[in-house]
């Protein structure tokens, strides 16, 4: 591999770095990347093999044998066939999809609306901007606790509703199976709309002013300018923003788990929560390894596609 990297760097550096020998640079470059390479290998190659191995056994940390002896509990592909028939797994996956399909578009639209309001200068812009970004910097577990308090039946949300309606409202948000998922989604939207706002605003200020002026002179109204100039210019940024939120939203755990613990029953159990419960409560790690690997394989396919888009986006000057 070092031979390959050496050629690449020689080509790249070319005439620019006459004084030092090209070899010295290539060697240093390789050494500099080494710690990161080792860390990545440490957390990917060996653990993946271990996971693959355990996933074809019934091994559990309670079984009394080391994981390397897990072959004694060999069960071939039973874990994978069990997974296909595991209703709780599929409903957790479905719930994860619902959360994603509600939260990501909501965050996108709200973020875009806010970004549009902040596209030009106005008094107070900086301070409003800083305040509106605050939620994304709050530790997610703490945000979970905030919303846990807000949605108590005697909490502020019901208090606000009571004042609006005029009669006392006592909705048990977090213990009603239907409402708990809504409460969780509201918390996610609260926390991550600012990220969409931040990314989309960065894209929006990059739209060339002169094109907008030209369009205005030609008689285009705000909506037409938005559709014909702003949206096409922001295409890559929008794809990146959506991709980031889809990926992160799929992993949803901290906020949700603190708010509801996946309950009531399994009403807010998403994929991460489900795996967490099987890992820490049922302790059947062979099965967990199988679930995890199945997810990793599916995600890898999505990832390869997404990364192709990302690298392409990087090459196009934004």
């Amino acid at each position: 591999m070092s031979a390959v990297t050496a050629t690449i760097s020689e080509d790249k550096m070319g005439a620019r770095t006459k004084p030092a020998t090209p070899d010295e640079g290539a060697r240093l470059g390789f050494r500099l990347t080494l710690p990161a390479q080792i860390l990545v290998l440490f957390i990917s190659a060996f653990p993946l093999l271990m996971q693959l191995y355990i996933s074809v056994t019934d091994w559990s940390p309670l079984s009394g044998i080391g994981w390397w002896n897990a072959w004694e509990m060999w069960n071939s592909f039973a874990n994978y066939t069990d997974l296909a028939a595991d209703a709780r797994f599929w409903s957790a996956l479905q719930r994860t999809a619902i959360v994603m399909l509600v939260c990501v578009p909501a965050e996108f639209l709200l973020g875009l609306a806010l970004a549009t309001l902040f596209a030009d200068d106005f008094p107070g812009k900086r301070i409003f901007y800083s305040i509106l970004l605050m939620p994304m910097m709050v530790v997610p577990a703490v945000a979970g606790y905030m919303f846990f308090m807000l949605f108590q039946s005697g909490g502020p949300v019901n208090d606000i509703l009571s004042r609006i309606v005029g009669t006392p409202v006592t909705i048990a948000w977090l213990s009603d199976p239907n409402l708990a998922l809504i409460a969780v989604m509201i918390a996610d939207i609260w926390q991550w709309t600012p990220l969409m706002f931040l990314i989309l605003l960065a894209g929006l200020v990059g739209v060339p002013e002169d094109q907008m002026k030209a369009a205005t002179l030609l008689g285009a109204n705000a909506w037409q300018r938005f559709i014909t100039i702003v949206l096409p210019k922001m295409k890559t940024i929008i794809i990146i923003a959506l991709a980031i939120r889809v990926i992160e939203n799929f992993k949803i755990f901290d906020t949700l788990y603190i708010m509801t613990g996946g309950g009531p029953g399994v009403a807010t159990e998403t994929i991460s929560v489900y795996i967490y419960k099987v890992t820490t409560q049922d302790l059947i790690w062979g099965y967990v390894a199988a679930i995890a690997l199945a997810i990793l394989i599916v995600l890898s396919i999505v990832a390869v596609y997404a990364m192709k888009r990302m690298t392409k986006a990087r090459e196009v000057p934004a």
Binding site: V40, V142, L150, L198
Partner: protein, 286 residues
């Protein structure tokens, strides 16, 4: 561009509405943190938005001093969880930043490790929950379970992608002329990196480190899995904060939540210019 008066009115109205939604949860936690135990009420009838008798007793309780007989003191104080959060986040940041900065320079200047960027993004794509079983087994084998060092190591790996990408965009943007001048003077490449490039990059390095620190400080899931008692971090400790006599210790939890929330919010506002680059893996330059 000139905007009309109705638009300005609409703009401020919309922003004020967004601010209200943004601030209510935060203000509620602040108010809870200063409420005496009698005002925690979860029953609704006597909900108070602001503490009628503001008190610091929640904060005192968090640090092991209880002046309220109703609160049965737990056998732990939050001091060690705070220390655990700090140690693991700081050392995790050190690991991610040193490996990430070196690799970013290597790739940015010499094109070494071409496969690294994608491997690092991939690392970020997977739900941590789906890769934790092998980590838990390995950490048990290495005796790293329930230690701040074990947390620091995994934090360093998990946030490495952010450190790498952020530093790489900074190095890509840095003009090479100064480095080249030093090379002509006869400096070795390593010396150029340590004596010229790194000192010049102090401000970007600080931003990237603070950014990575926020990410490490924010973790809940990994600490939940890898720590059990000795070195639990603030969020894990906070979640366990309840006693049989009082049930949920709302005020104490809010006080601890406030302590956990303040550093990242301040840091985040200070480095907001770099947030976009960091969070989009440099895919977006601002």
């Amino acid at each position: 561009m000139k905007r009309s008066v109705p638009f300005e009115i609409f703009r401020y109205a919309a922003i004020l509405a967004a601010m209200a939604v943004t601030l209510v949860p935060i203000l509620w936690m602040v108010s809870m943190a200063f409420k005496p135990i009698g005002e925690w009420s979860a029953t609704g009838a006597d909900l108070t938005w602001w503490p009628k008798q503001p008190t610091l007793s929640n904060f005192r309780f968090v640090f092991g001093e209880s002046d309220n007989d109703l609160i049965v003191a737990l056998d732990h104080t939050a001091l060690k969880p705070i220390l655990s959060s700090l140690l693991s986040a700081v050392f995790g940041t050190a690991i991610a930043m040193s490996a990430g900065t070196a690799a970013a320079y290597g790739l940015s200047r010499f094109g070494s490790g071409q496969n690294l960027p994608l491997a690092l993004i991939q690392l970020r794509l997977f739900p941590p929950m789906a890769v934790m079983i092998p980590v838990m087994i390995m950490w048990a084998f290495l005796n790293l379970n329930d230690t701040w060092l074990g947390l620091a190591l995994i934090y360093g790996i998990v946030t490495l992608p952010f450190a790498f990408w952020l530093m790489k965009t900074f190095f890509d943007d840095m003009p090479r002329e100064i480095e080249e001048a030093a090379l002509v003077e006869g400096c070795s490449r390593l010396r150029v990196f340590t004596r010229i490039t790194l000192p010049m990059m102090r401000a970007p390095l600080a931003s990237a480190a603070l950014f990575v620190f926020i990410l490490n400080w924010s973790d809940y899931l990994i600490a939940l899995l890898l720590t059990t008692r000795e070195w639990v971090t603030i969020p894990v400790y906070m979640a366990s904060l309840s006693s049989s006599m009082t049930g949920q210790l709302y005020g104490a939890k809010a006080a601890l939540g406030l302590i956990a929330a303040v550093p990242p919010v301040i840091i985040g506002i200070a480095i907001q210019r770099h947030l976009v680059r960091g969070l989009t893996f440099g895919a977006l330059k601002q």
